[in-house]
C-alpha cells in the first residue's frame, strides 16, 4: 500500500480510479486528462523503491501524452493513442475488480464463516518413512528449498535515501531563470540534470504549462531534432 498524506492507494490504477471518483467523473480519456496533474502531484510525494515507482511512472508517461495533446493539439501519435485507449480499458476492468473486492469485503464483514472439524481421527501412527532416502538427499532437498526463498527486499532500506522532491512550480522557476540567462536553451540541457524519471516528467510538464501560459516558446526544426526553448517574457 502507498500512502501520501491522508490518501492511500494500492497502485497506479487504484490512484487513477480514486482521483476520477473524487472528481465524480466517468472513466474516459477526458477524465484521465483532467486528473493528470493531481496524479503527478501524488507520485511526486510518494516513497517507494525504484521498481515500485516504475509502475507509477509508466502510467504517468501515458497521462503526459494526454496532457501534451491538450496543450499542443497538433501532436498526435497513433501508438500513444492506442496506449491511452489501453489504459482506459484497463482502468475499466480494474474498477470492476474493485467492486468485486468491495463485495467480498462486505461478505467477510458479515462474519459468517464455516469452520472445519478440529477433532482428528484416531488413526494409528505407523512409521512410514519415504523410500530410499538418506541424510545427504534430505539435506540437498533442504538447500534447494532455501534457494527458492524470495530475496528479501533490502532495496527499500538501502536505496531509499530521501530523494529531493521537485515540483512543477520549482521547475518552472528554474527554466524561467535559465531563459533569462540565455536566449535559447536546448531541451536536452534542461533534462540533463534530472536525477530520475519523475524529474524528467515534471520538467516536461513544467515546459508544457509555460508554453500554455505563453511564458516560453519552442522551436523544433525537424522531427527528432533538439527542441529549442526561448523566453517570451
Amino acid at each position: 500500500m502507498y500512502a501520501v498524506s491522508n490518501d492511500q492507494f494500492e497502485g497506479p490504477l487504484d490512484l487513477l480510479l480514486q482521483l476520477i471518483e473524487k472528481e465524480k467523473l466517468e472513466i474516459t480519456t477526458v477524465s484521465l486528462s483532467k486528473i493528470t496533474s493531481a496524479y503527478l502531484e501524488q507520485i511526486e510525494n510518494m516513497q517507494g523503491t525504484s521498481s515500485e515507482m516504475a509502475d507509477f511512472l509508466v502510467v504517468a508517461a501515458k497521462l503526459l501524452y494526454l496532457k501534451s495533446k491538450e496543450l499542443l493539439p497538433d501532436i498526435k501519435s497513433d501508438e500513444e493513442e492506442e496506449e491511452i485507449e489501453d489504459l482506459e480499458a484497463k482502468l475499466r476492468e480494474y474498477s470492476i475488480y474493485k467492486k468485486a473486492a468491495a463485495n467480498l469485503e462486505s461478505i467477510l464483514i458479515d462474519g459468517q464463516r464455516g469452520y472445519s472439524r478440529r477433532a482428528k481421527s484416531e488413526s494409528e501412527i505407523i512409521f512410514l518413512p519415504p523410500q530410499d532416502i538418506n541424510h545427504q538427499m534430505l539435506f540437498a532437498i533442504f538447500q534447494e528449498t532455501l534457494n527458492k526463498l524470495p530475496e528479501q527486499i533490502e532495496e527499500r532500506v538501502i536505496t531509499d535515501s530521501p530523494e529531493q522532491k521537485i515540483t512543477i512550480e520549482d521547475k518552472k522557476k528554474i527554466i524561467y531563470s535559465l531563459t533569462k540567462k540565455k536566449k535559447t536553451i536546448r531541451f536536452k540541457e534542461i533534462l540533463a540534470g534530472a536525477k530520475n524519471k519523475t524529474e524528467v516528467i515534471v520538467t516536461f510538464l513544467a515546459i508544457l504549462e509555460m508554453i500554455k501560459q505563453k511564458e516560453i516558446g519552442v522551436i523544433q526544426k525537424e522531427s527528432f531534432a533538439d527542441i529549442l526553448i526561448m523566453g517570451l517574457k
Binding site: 484497463k90 475488480y97 464483514i109 464463516r113 472445519s116 482428528k120 524470495p150
Partner: protein, 183 residues
C-alpha cells in the same frame, strides 16, 4: 423397503461418514473409490445430503469436484467463541483486490494478476498462499510454464459460502454502485 432403497440409504450414510472424518476436501473420485462404487452413484447422495443439511448446524460445501463438511456459517459467532478465535477478518485492501481477481479469473498466473492490478504482487500472492486462501492449481502451457493460481475450499469456507457460484457474476458487479457495497 426394497433392496435398492436400502442400498441408497447406506451410500448416503457412508458418504456422510467419509466427509465427516476426512481431513481435507474429498473429490467425487476419492469418495467413490473408498466405497467401491461408480462416481455417478455418489452424486445423488451428495444432493440428498445437501438437502438434509438445510437449517442444520453442518453444511456441505464444494469447489468443483471437491466436497467438504463445515459448521453452518450462520453459527460462526458461537463457534468462534468456543474455539476462542477472532471472527473479524484481517485482509488488507490489496489482499481483497487480489482475491477478487483470482476468484473471477481463475486459473491465472501471477503476471496476469499484476497486469490487472498494475503493480507487483509477489508478496500479496505469497501471503494468500500461506493463509491457504489460494493455491497453485497447475501450470500454464506457455513460455516458462508459469504457475496458475486459484482459490481454495478454505476461501469458500472463510467467506461462509456454499460454493463460488454464490458470488455475484462479473456482469452483475458492473451494475453495483460502490456506495451500496460500502454500506
Amino acid at each position: 423397503m426394497s433392496g435398492i432403497e436400502t442400498k441408497n440409504i447406506n451410500i448416503k450414510s457412508i458418504v456422510e461418514s467419509l466427509l465427516f472424518v476426512a481431513e481435507k476436501p474429498l473429490s467425487l473420485l476419492e469418495i467413490a473409490e473408498a466405497i467401491g462404487i461408480p462416481v455417478s452413484e455418489i452424486q445423488k447422495s451428495l444432493k440428498e445430503l445437501e438437502a438434509d443439511y438445510k437449517n442444520r448446524g453442518i453444511s456441505l460445501i464444494n469447489k468443483g469436484e471437491y466436497f467438504a463438511l463445515i459448521s453452518a456459517p450462520e453459527n460462526s459467532k458461537e463457534v468462534s467463541r468456543l474455539l476462542n478465535e477472532e471472527l473479524r477478518h484481517d485482509l488488507s485492501q490489496a489482499a481483497l483486490e487480489t482475491l477478487a481477481i483470482i476468484t473471477y479469473k481463475q486459473p491465472l498466473t501471477k503476471a496476469e494478476i499484476e497486469e490487472i492490478r498494475g503493480v507487483n504482487s509477489d508478496q500479496i500472492v505469497r501471503n494468500l498462499m500461506v493463509r491457504g486462501l489460494i493455491a497453485e492449481i497447475g501450470r500454464k502451457e506457455s513460455v516458462g510454464k508459469p504457475i496458475l493460481y486459484g482459490t481454495t475450499m478454505e476461501f469458500i469456507q472463510y467467506c461462509g459460502l456454499e460454493n463460488e457460484n454464490a458470488l455475484p457474476k462479473m456482469e452483475e458487479l458492473n451494475l453495483f454502485e460502490k456506495n451500496d457495497e460500502a454500506s
